[in-house]
Structures are given as structure tokens and as C-alpha cells.
Symmetry: C2
DNA sequence: CGAGGAATATTGCCATGGCTATAGTTGCTC
DNA sequence: GAGCAACTATAGCCATGGCAATATTCCTCG
């Protein structure tokens, strides 16, 4: 068996990306937990808080998170039970319902965000010189745009079908 | 509520990292599935295949993957049932047992790896100029070393305790 | 208008995996 | 050697979340 396949620079590159991500996620999760939030709940809270009216239809919330629509149903169940958000019927479409952040939810987010930003700075952005950071982010943006169809509003271009990198 | 918190460059930076990782993971998972593997199973297979004797104690396997020891027990259960690996009693310590990759497991990995490498190149490394890629990897290495204690054998230095909290 | 198909949220069923308790083993200390 | 703490793998119980089925509601086309 070809042992040195694992020394392939591509494997190494992915390993770095995965481990950097995993390490940061673990730090985030620990801090979220201090504020009684799971990573998914924090994600939901931020997505709602940055949406007009602090609300989003269940479907749209699912599209903006890592969850399926049924997953969103359940997270919203839990968070509604905890008073972080509530459901609101959509007046124009009786199939839809909104998830709306409550005041308590916004407060919780406010409590969590400063520490979150501190962690990012301490363990990610602050570890790099400004121009290094810019280089990393430029690279990640290119990867993201290639591999994550429809991630940003800006990239409406079709997903590149081949390895073409202009 | 402070809406423009979400325009904070730190939030943006993490968002890029997370989405690049998520996009790549999704592509990987799709290709693994073509070969009848889950992401965790692929991880286990590679960890074992790159270990001396194609084997690892359950505990060590857990330490090298994203799983707890009980998680490893179950993945190994499934993979043993599928014939990808088998358990072997440790002769020197009757508490321990090894997970050993079978020939079928190595074959499965051989079938999967070329496509995996192609995906990495097509959607990650190949999207960047060589010097861009090097810059990204250098940055990720720094982040990884900071945030992921004990990730590599090379970085024995203690985790920076530069702290600022509480 | 009415029928059929698409969209929306939810629920049932299931796989995955973490935490904790447990049983077996080892090694250290007295 | 006996006792005890640490280690190792596993099983029980539970939370999370995906997929598919389901019930509503909406929309389009005839």
C-alpha cells in the first residue's frame, strides 16, 4: 500500500483547514455553553438578529444555517421553550411561520457576542499579521466561492464546472 | 440592537473559514458516499492505514479522530460488520484491543483516495496560485497550532496563555 | 372555478455519537 | 502479596438532526 499518499500536499492542506476549524469550533462551543447556548442556537440567534425585523421564515432560516427544515423546527421548538424566540404566523401565507427573536434572545446574544469576538481575535485573527490575515481571507473567499454555491449574495455566477481558475 | 456588530471583520473572517470548510466537507461527503463510506469511516480508515501495522488501539484511534472512545467503539463495530477492519486483542495488555484494517478496507481506501485528492485539488488547492496557497496554509498552520493543542508532534510548545478574560 | 402540483412546517422513525456507569486489567504503594 | 488508583473498552441512556411521509396552504393552468 502506498504509504506516502498521506504526505501528499493536498492531504496536508485539507488537514490544516479541518484542524484549524475544529479547534476554533471547540473554543466557540465552550464559550457558548457558558451562556447556555449550543453552537446551532448561537447560529440561529445571529441569523435572526441580523435579519429585518429580527425574524425569518422557517425555510429561510434553514437555508441560512447548517440545518434542514425539520432540524430548524426542532431547534426553534427548544429555543421557544427557553424563551429565546417565538413563532409568529405569517399574515400573507398561512403555510409559513416566522421565528422571531425575543428580547431575552437578543439579550442572550448581547451577552455572548463580546466573548465570542474576543475568542476570534485571540485565537484566529490576532494570531496573524494584518497582511497575512488578508492573504488567508482572500484565499478562503476563493475557496468558499468555488465550493459553496450561493454562499454570498454577490456571487450569482454559476458554479465553475471545471478546475478553471482565472 | 447593534446591527453592525455583524459587519465586524472578525465575524466575517470566521464566516469565511466556516463556509469554506463546510463546502469542502459537503463535497467530500458526497464522494465518500459513492464508495459506501461516511466521513468518519474515511477518517478512521486513513488513520489506521497511516499507522504502523495498519492498526491502532481504540484509545489512540479516538485521540486521532473527532470521536470519543465510545464513539470509536461504535464506528469500529459498524466497520467490522462491513468487513473494513477487525479487532485484535493486544497481547501485552489485556485491557486494550487493536483495530486493524483488513485488505478489503485498504482496497476501499485505495478506491476512494484518488477521487478525494482530485476534489481537494479542484475545489481548494487548485483554486489558488502556489504562493497564495502557501500563504493560506501558513496562516492556517498558525491558527491550528494556537487553537488546537497537541495537534502535531512538531509543536510541543505550550498553548499561549495570553488570556484577557474574566 | 377546480384540479393538480408546488411549497411549507411538522412528525415519525432512525442513525450517530456524547456522557456516564461498569467491568475487567494493570501497575503502584505499602 | 493486598489494596487502590488509573486505564481501557463497552453498554445504557439520551440529545441531536436527517429523510421521508403527512397535512395544509398556495398557485397555475385548463
Amino acid at each position: 500500500m502506498n504509504q506516502n499518499v498521506f504526505d501528499d500536499p493536498r492531504i496536508t492542506a485539507v488537514g490544516l483547514l479541518v484542524e484549524a476549524h475544529a479547534g476554533l469550533s471547540a473554543r466557540f462551543a465552550a464559550q457558548f455553553e457558558e451562556h447556555g447556548l449550543s453552537p446551532v442556537e448561537f447560529e440561529v440567534l445571529t441569523r435572526l438578529a441580523r435579519s429585518p425585523g429580527n425574524q425569518l421564515r422557517m425555510t429561510d432560516l434553514a437555508a441560512q444555517t447548517s440545518l434542514s427544515t425539520s432540524g430548524v423546527t426542532r431547534v426553534v421548538d427548544r429555543m421557544e421553550r427557553d424563551g429565546l424566540l417565538c413563532r409568529r404566523a405569517c399574515p400573507s401565507d398561512r403555510r409559513s411561520s416566522y421565528a422571531v427573536v425575543t428580547t431575552a434572545g437578543l439579550q442572550r446574544l448581547d451577552q455572548t457576542l463580546p466573548g465570542h469576538l474576543r475568542i476570534i481575535e485571540q485565537w484566529f485573527t490576532g494570531q496573524l499579521e494584518p497582511e497575512e490575515l488578508r492573504a488567508v481571507l482572500d484565499g478562503l473567499r476563493r475557496v468558499r466561492d468555488a465550493v459553496h454555491p450561493g454562499a454570498t449574495a454577490g456571487s450569482t455566477e454559476p458554479v465553475p464546472e471545471e478546475d478553471a481558475r482565472s
